[in-house]
């Protein structure tokens, strides 16, 4: 009862396991072997096969095999039991001929399904010279031997020597040895100046592989793998990599019996290894860069989306812009998107999901823009352009997303807020500045440098008008002079004429011609005044005479006396009573007045 129970459980686990687990069938052998060397070929299977048929191993001499070994393991985790099984078929082979040979896949049947192992390629290298440690074994020396450089060295290998700026290079730091390494000391990584470097994840434990280098088999180990992105063009040199290694070396001492008994003695020798500098030729990117190019190199794809296209004011919208592909993804800058100016925008949230692999940097980089529309309306976000340089096609590629249309409705809260006057007012938004437009209306052109000021005609106008002025003044002067001459003459003759008239009056007085007497007397007076004052007789009256006399003489008594004679004369002329006696008296008075006037008016 108990036994059957156990068997049942066993069977159950078995069935469970074989159904649940993927069958893995792998073949393993060193990739390089020496001629005549013995090596192991193993086929590993994680399930129990119903049949196993190995490939034909015609190119090798089979020393033994297949030797089957089985290992099983049980695991109980949280009460759950799991079992794993590993079945290994091992061959011991010896290489007989030089060349590269392929070991065909082995076939196994598990649960009526056929499985094949991976094919293997084994390189058989011709006769090796014996390792120097063995060669020099017998040389008597107390010192550890000098280690020849070709026995142990490090190299920095790059997959390409000539790349475009920004295109990735994979640099592999490898150690090559034919000696037994017991450990590593300090190491100095190159600083990769001129590059942006990213480590590719590799196992921390260095596993040695056999490799054929120029016909010599070395054990090689990858110390580090680095992705390099050149940041400048031109020739960039990767500095040497330095590594201190400890090697176990046999010390050759004078032989004694103990040596043979205890075996040879070894010591650890340290050696500083240094790789050779590597030159990388970096080509500059072609000059015809699109305006949207910001330095992305590789092969990429873009995708843009928004989470909603219809919102209410002050609701957030998220615009997601993703770049996917292979290239210098980490260095990609956020694209410039022309959001409507009425939107509040924030700096994009950047998320990266990037793996550094032997194929370069792959993954995606996402930019998330948060947009908050502040006003209702229909908005358009123009297509976003993204450019990158494709080193394989050696040309720039420009990708464009579609445009987005967003309808923003007024939210209820917003309407309430808007009721309060003056609160939602905002300053005029200046979207950009530009020069004012040209003056398109017809305008007047004028000949350059042709200005009136300083020209000959300009000065002529001054001179001519001045000349004209002078001429007018001169003419006037001459005219005045002429007239003054006449007046002067009249003036001089005035008393003479007046005396003549007085004489005539005197004659009339004698002949008692009363009428004629007064007439000549008046004529003498008026004529005298006219000549003296240069006033025509027609314009002469008592008033004007008095006024004008005032300007010439200050003696008021004389003026009054002179004018009184004229008055008396005019009165007597028309009065019938005037006798000769009165006339006599008037005559003497008139003579006296004129004489006196003549004295004053000179």
């Amino acid at each position: 009862m108990k036994l059957t129970h156990t068997i049942f459980v066993f069977l159950l686990i078995f069935c469970f396991n074989s159904g649940a687990q993927d069958v893995q069938f792998t073949a393993d052998a060193p990739s390089v072997v020496e001629m005549g060397e013995q090596f192991r070929l193993t086929f590993t299977l994680n399930a129990r096969p119903s049949s196993f048929s190995p490939p034909e191993l015609t190119n090798f001499y089979v020393l033994s095999g297949p030797n089957q070994s089985t290992s099983t393991s049980f695991q109980i985790i949280n009460g759950k039991t799991s079992q794993s099984i590993t079945i290994t078929y091992t061959y011991y082979l010896q290489a007989t001929t030089a060349g590269t040979f392929t070991i065909e896949p082995a076939q196994a049947v598990v649960d009526r399904k056929e499985y094949f192992s991976n094919p293997l390629s084994v390189e058989v290298v011709g006769e090796q010279k014996p390792a120097p440690s063995q060669q020099d074994q017998r040389t008597p020396s107390t010192q550890p031997q000098q280690l020849p450089a070709e026995e142990l060295f490090v190299r920095v290998l790059t997959d390409r020597k000539s790349v475009y700026q920004g295109e990735h290079i994979i640099a592999t730091i490898k150690i090559y040895t034919r000696l037994t390494i017991t450990g590593f000391g300090s190491s100095e990584m190159p600083d990769f100046s001129g590059f942006w470097s990213q480590d590719i994840e590799s196992p921390t434990q260095i596993s040695l592989q056999r490799e054929n280098v120029n016909g010599v088999i070395y054990n090689t180990g990858v110390i580090r793998k680095v992705l390099l992105f050149p940041q400048k063009s031109g020739e960039i040199i990767i500095d040497p990599f330095k590594l201190e290694t400890y090697i176990r070396q046999q010390i050759s001492t004078p032989r004694s019996i103990f040596d043979d008994f205890f075996g040879p003695s070894y010591s650890n020798v340290s050696k500083m290894l240094e790789s050779e500098p590597v030159k990388i030729n970096v080509k500059p990117l072609p000059a015809d860069q699109p305006t949207t190019f910001t330095g992305a190199v590789g092969s990429m794809n873009i995708n843009a989306s928004i989470d909603k296209s219809g919102v209410k004011t002050n609701d957030a919208i998220t615009l997601r812009f993703a770049v996917k592909g292979n290239g210098n993804l980490k260095l990609i800058e956020s694209p410039k998107i022309d959001f409507p100016p009425d939107f509040d925008t924030f700096d994009p949230k950047v998320t990266t999901n990037i793996q550094n692999t032997s194929n370069g940097q792959t993954g995606n980089k996402t930019f998330e823009y948060l947009l908050i529309p502040r006003h209702a309306g229909n908005y358009r976000i123009p297509p976003v352009s993204f450019s990158y340089f494709n080193p394989e096609k050696e040309s720039y590629q420009t990708l464009q997303t579609g445009e987005f249309r967003i309808t923003v409705e007024k939210s209820e809260e917003d309407e309430q807020v808007n009721v309060i006057p003056g609160l939602s007012k905002e300053d005029l938004k200046i979207l950009g500045s530009d020069i004012l437009f040209i003056k398109a209306d017809p305008f007047k052109l004028f000949p350059a440098g042709k200005i009136l000021f300083g020209s000959l005609p300009f000065y002529f106008v001054y001179i001519i008008s001045l000349l004209l002025f002078i001429i007018i003044v001169l003419i006037r002067r001459a005219h005045i002079k002429k007239r003054q001459n006449i007046e002067l003459l009249k003036n001089r003759k005035a008393s003479k004429v007046a005396r003549g008239k007085l004489k005539q009056a005197y004659k009339c007085l004698k002949q008692d011609h009363k009428e004629e007497f007064f007439e000549s007397l008046l004529k003498a007076f008026w004529g005298y005044l006219s000549d003296k004052l240069s006033i025509p007789i027609s314009e002469l009256s008592k008033d004007t005479a008095e006024k004008n006399l005032n300007t010439y003489i200050s003696d008021q008594e004389l003026i009054q006396r002179f004018l009184k004679v004229i008055d008396d004369c005019e009165m007597a002329r028309y009065s019938p009573q005037s006798g000769t006696e009165q006339m006599d008296k008037l005559y003497t008075e008139a003579v006296k007045a004129i004489t006196k006037m003549e004295q004053n008016l000179r």
Partner: protein
């Protein structure tokens, strides 16, 4: 003979008007090119008008705009400055010049100008050179007429009045003449220039071995104060003085 002379005169007048008509057509074509965004062609048309010897502030302004739009900042600045010299109070010219100056690298703190000098400078821009000249001539003639009135009348009040007024007008004629003279000097003999080279080192003496004084960049306005061979001595608006080769400059 008289008829022949008349005929020649008429032909000349027609030729003259046809010529100016061509020039106005050029301006129109330039404007159309500008509106269509073909700034290089617009520049060619405007320059052709200038080559034929005709100018106007508007033309310089449009040419400056075309240069600005085709990203030739220095030439744009030169044209705007020329436009502003001819019409210093035009808002559009002032605006675009200020905008273009924002792209100039060098920031120079101008020495403060005397307030009276500044006022005077603005005051004389009220009229153009020839307007001032006309005012000067007419006030001069008026002053002469007033002198004549003074000489010819006997009425003492009128004589006194005309005498003083004549002096006032004579003074006006003289001062407007001076305004016209200064305005002309400001436009035609100003000695201002603009740096043409993207970057030029100003030397302490007119020689390549001279001490490097400072660095200037294209678009900066300087005043030429002296010259020696191919070298020009310049003064900045902050008072700094130095020498540079004249191929680095373009006169406004």
């Amino acid at each position: 003979m008289k008829q022949l002379a008349g005929l020649i005169l008429i032909i000349l007048l027609i030729a003259q008007s046809a010529f100016t008509q061509d020039i106005y057509d050029l301006v129109k074509e330039g404007n159309e090119y500008y509106i269509n965004g073909e700034f290089e062609s617009a520049i060619d048309k405007y320059e052709a008008v200038l080559d034929s010897g005709y100018v106007s502030p508007e033309l310089y302004y449009n040419l400056g705009n075309a240069y600005f739009k085709s990203h030739k900042l220095t030439m744009a600045l030169v044209q705007y400055e020329r436009a502003l010299l001819l019409d210093p109070n035009d808002e559009e010219i002032i605006n675009n010049l200020a905008l273009a100056r924002q792209y100039v690298v060098d920031e120079i703190d101008a020495l403060p100008e005397l307030l009276i000098k500044k006022w005077y400078r603005t005051f004389i821009t009220i009229f153009t050179i020839d307007q001032w000249a006309y005012i000067s001539i007419s006030t001069f003639i008026f002053a002469l007429v007033l002198f004549l009135i003074y000489l010819f009348t006997r009425t003492i009040n009128l004589r006194r009045f005309s005498f003083w007024l004549a002096f006032v007008f004579l003074f006006l004629a003289f001062s407007t003449y001076v305004f016209s003279y200064h305005r002309k000097k400001n436009i035609y003999d100003h000695n201002f220039a603009i740096i043409l080279s993207p970057s030029v080192t100003i030397k302490g003496s007119p020689d390549n071995s001279g001490t490097d004084l400072f660095q200037l960049h294209e678009g900066t306005k300087v005043k030429i104060i002296d010259q020696m061979g191919e070298w020009k001595e310049i003064r900045l608006s902050d008072g700094n003085v130095g020498w540079l080769r004249d191929e680095n400059l373009i006169k406004i």
